[in-house]
Symmetry: C2
Subunit: 228 residues, 2 copies
């Protein structure tokens, strides 16, 4: 089972620690703030209140033995940099650090972190993509220039078979799934449930209210999603 | 062209405003901090320094005319709530608000925002999923229980045709793409480039270093990604 140190229990760090614990990982949680340590102490394998830029403190909790360290310290860029440097010197193989600014990110890259994450910026770009194309419900860049997007079925395609909607021919994007809302009677009450068709066939009918899951080049997706 | 108000230019809000402007949207950027307004004034259609919880101030900049308002205020939960309430009363149809805590998010939902976003928490969950399955490079929940994951080709599959790797038969997941690194000579120098095969065929060969893009039920994906 993986051992992960999470240093800095802000909203990002806390979320990482909490999710890892739920999935059965061993988590060493470190923060200077006793309230944060208190909040996570029931969950974490080991929760320690200390200043992570202090190498003695990190050695005292065997931080060098973890598989991965996640450093999530925002306001104090200097602390973030010192902690990453210390972890590198201690031999921690995989270090993932939250970047606060582009420049902070460059410094972390130069120090040799495995990955810099910009959570707010990533979320901002994804939201902006969805606002630009109002029918796009979700967006993920799969590879440079290629994305997955979820698109609400446009009115003019409602009631057509996939074959008739000619999405692949017209726009050069693949439909990799269809999310349908299905009404069922459960114990005498009408409930709506979502069904995900992960192997869409050309004779499947798409209807208003369904969501198409598409993969393709960004410019091809844009031609489809922005024509709605 | 869509008109979007972005209120609160922290890392999330600023990212939204910047991306929207790059994509050609009209952005009304609002913040109390003159430095933030200065930073965005070259980009934004209209950048205003004011307290967004002041209804007169919002009316003075015609905030009620936007298609969407994004409220991204973190530290001051009260201000976030007041601003959302004011925008609702002004008739802004679509309001997207950043949530700071789960309870803050519930209050925003009860006020009738279109969507609450938890950028740090979303990024934390995605990172944690990738840490749990070390060969998973990307993760997106497509629909309840279904995800897209990007998986590095496991050693035992290297050199096999997709047909021989029997991924769909064994794990019940679809391969919707293959990311390959391709070496080319450009002007006498060796460069690596990534090529994305968005229509993988059963006779395509997968090799160590390639990345498979997979779609399926989370438990089926886990059987594959965690067996590596
Ligand atoms: N030297 C340090 N050693 C250990 N923990 C620290 C240190 N410096 C700061 N922290 C902790 O890191 C946590 C996150 O820091 P901060 O709130 O500055 O980051 P943030 O990026 O704004 O967080 P968020 O993820 O909520 O956006 C805080 O709980 C803080 O107590
Ligand atoms: N009443 C207000 N009216 C307008 N802007 C405000 C108001 N209150 C706070 N702001 C601005 O909102 C911005 C974001 O606020 P804050 O830094 O508290 O949020 P955050 O969630 O921590 O940000 P981040 O997105 O960086 O994580 C700041 O630039 C601040 O000046």
């Amino acid at each position: 089972k993986r051992q992960v140190a999470v240093i800095g229990l802000g909203r990002f760090g806390y979320g990482v620690a909490e999710t890892l614990v739920k999935e059965g990982c061993e988590v060493l949680a470190i923060d200077t703030d006793p309230e944060k340590i208190q909040a996570i102490s029931d969950l974490a394998t080991f929760a320690v209140q200390c200043d992570a830029s202090d190498e003695k403190a990190l050695k005292a909790v065997s931080a060098q033995n973890v598989d991965v360290a996640v450093v999530s310290i925002g306001e104090n860029i200097e602390a973030s940099i010192l902690i990453v440097q210390t972890l590198k010197e201690m031999g921690v193989k995989q270090i993932i650090a939250k970047g606060v600014t582009a420049q902070h990110g460059k410094i972390l890259q130069n120090l040799g972190v495995t990955e810099v994450i910009f959570p707010e910026r990533d979320a901002a770009i994804r939201l902006a993509q969805r606002l630009i194309s109002p029918n796009v419900l979700e967006y993920l860049e799969l590879a440079p220039g290629f994305s997955v997007e979820e698109l609400a079925v446009p009115d003019h395609m409602s009631g057509l078979r996939l074959r008739e909607a000619k999405i692949r021919e017209t726009y050069n994007v693949n439909i990799i799934g269809i999310r349908k809302k299905v009404c069922r009677m459960v114990k005498g009450r009408m409930t709506t449930e979502e069904v995900f068709n992960v192997t869409p066939a050309l004779d499947d009918v798409i209807e208003k209210g369904d969501i198409l899951v598409l993969v393709g080049k960004q410019e091809d997706l844009n031609r489809l999603t922005k024509s709605e």
